[in-house]
Symmetry: C2
Subunit: 305 residues, 2 copies
């Protein structure tokens, strides 16, 4: 594949940025990739493992001369970072991000950018429960979706960023910011909060020990613990910035949960059976769409001691 | 490994029974294994794939001369099956089951069994989202836990059944019936109901299409769809028969969820951050205990189209 950007700057060096770096290197998609992370320790790790062609000591230094700058920091840090880099951005550069909420990122970033810079918010729907500079890998985006939220940005800048994401293996769709935030509230934000809650409840019970929870977790519970092990800072910011959509979905969830609890209490087996039959269809759709494996138990097989 | 039972009868031929059959064959743990399933189609499939040494036309026929009978039917069918087989059980035989709820199974089965038969309820904490006679495999129980609930049964009979489960690869613990039902309400029953609910809510939204839910499911939602694709009959019976413990845990869950919703609404980031940090520890415990893989995303990698 051929080079799409001459110089890319990655601000924040966690799971997504490090995966982007390895994917860009694999495909020869960028001339030089610079990187910056706020923590000295992260920068040292990045240098040690060869993450980024050049690790800089400030965000301002990293973005100088870059034709693509990608903000890969938690949503709560986007505004401060933007204020810091704005005076150093090259004319005509594209600024993008990888945040899980789009309206809040647009509000935090857009007002601070110079007029001669293109802002194309993006959100790759990919990740694992691991975080930090060592957690990235080139294949993370393969066959995953990346949503662009161009909001009227220059069509050439949008097309170029799309080309980069496609070259990193992703499928690309465009979406309006508020609709993005609602879709993600359903497919990501509410499920994460629910998983965090269930794990917290289990941990907090007096009559069942943590050791019992852990030993017997293969009966279903362990599936929840994976997403409840995701990065706390990132997820705090997601919930604080996608408040309305998340609360709307959680409201619907609670309503439905109460209806099922009532069916259990009153012994309404038909209601339960119908509900459980219905939900199988979505799983089939996801497998047919290539978005999950049909191997039993995600193909993880027997975990060994 | 050496033979533990001369003749084993499997009543019901779904995921658990078929996995038991292949595990017993692999280890040479049983002389002859007979099987029975209510549906003609299932019996035909079993014969076709060589599931069981002999597939019988009635449960009564299957249990004749067996020194171990394992009830592998949904909990709601346990009582009727027991009434049917009781007069045909060999003196000194052991009757066991694999039901996910233990108090209800004991109440349904025990009163109908002859005095000269040993009843040792069991529950292997293993399964996948697939069901039916073709879904079983010999490795299903490896390094999983099987809980025995002997309730005063003959110690020799209990030790022999324990030996069988260990020879099929499982770790074995003994537990009291009500405590079992509470532990499973936390580690299995509540998580399943919550997953079913979340998938149902997603499917029912007007403003987000099913096709969007499916395409963008890798952001977290797809993890829920796996357990929400489990067998509807089995799960209806679980909730109807472990009503009190499940409702207790769901009550605690709702309380905690409301507290987190309030933290989101009021913008209490510290509360969210602390909660999300805490839940990471349980995941680590599960991985250290060998009950799940540490590979990112369960090691499922990129699902291909």
């Amino acid at each position: 594949m051929s080079q799409i950007y001459d110089r890319v700057a990655l601000i924040g060096l966690g799971l997504i940025a490090s995966s982007m770096f390895w994917a860009m290197k694999r495909g020869g998609l960028a001339g030089e990739v610079t990187g910056y992370a706020r923590s000295e320790e992260t920068r040292a790790t990045a240098r040690e493992i060869g993450l980024c062609d050049r690790v800089c000591e400030s965000a301002a230094e990293a973005v100088e001369g870059a034709d693509l700058v990608v903000l890969c920091v938690p949503i709560g840090a986007m505004e401060a970072v933007t204020v810091e880099i704005a005076p150093h951005l090259a004319k005509g550069a594209t600024v993008s991000d990888v945040g899980s909420v789009k309206r809040a990122v647009i509000e935090a970033v857009k007002p601070h950018l110079p007029k001669d810079v293109h802002f194309v918010p993006a959100h790759p729907l990919a990740g694992t429960e691991h975080s930090g500079p060592k957690s990235g890998f080139a294949e993370l985006f393969e066959n995953r979706w990346c949503l662009l939220v161009p909001e009227g940005a220059d069509t050439k800048a949008v097309a170029r960023l799309r080309k980069l994401w496609e070259a990193m293996g992703a499928n690309v769709d465009e979406m309006e910011a508020d609709h993005h935030d609602l879709v993600l509230a359903v497919t990501s934000h509410a499920p994460h909060l629910i998983a965090y809650t269930m794990v917290g409840v289990a941990d907090d019970l007096r009559r069942v020990t943590d050791s019992e929870i852990i030993k017997y977790s293969a009966a279903g519970f362990r599936d929840f613990t994976r997403i409840a092990a995701s990065d706390p800072t990132m997820w705090r910011d997601v919930f604080l910035t996608n408040k309305d959509a998340t609360l709307e979905i959680l409201g619907r969830f609670t309503e439905e949960l109460f209806a099922l609890q009532r069916a259990i209490r009153t012994g309404d087996g038909d209601h339960l059976f119908d509900y459980f039959t219905h939900t199988r269809a979505i799983r089939r759709g996801i497998i047919e769409a290539g978005q999950d494996t049909d191997a039993p138990d995600f193909g993880r097989g027997a975990a060994k001691e």
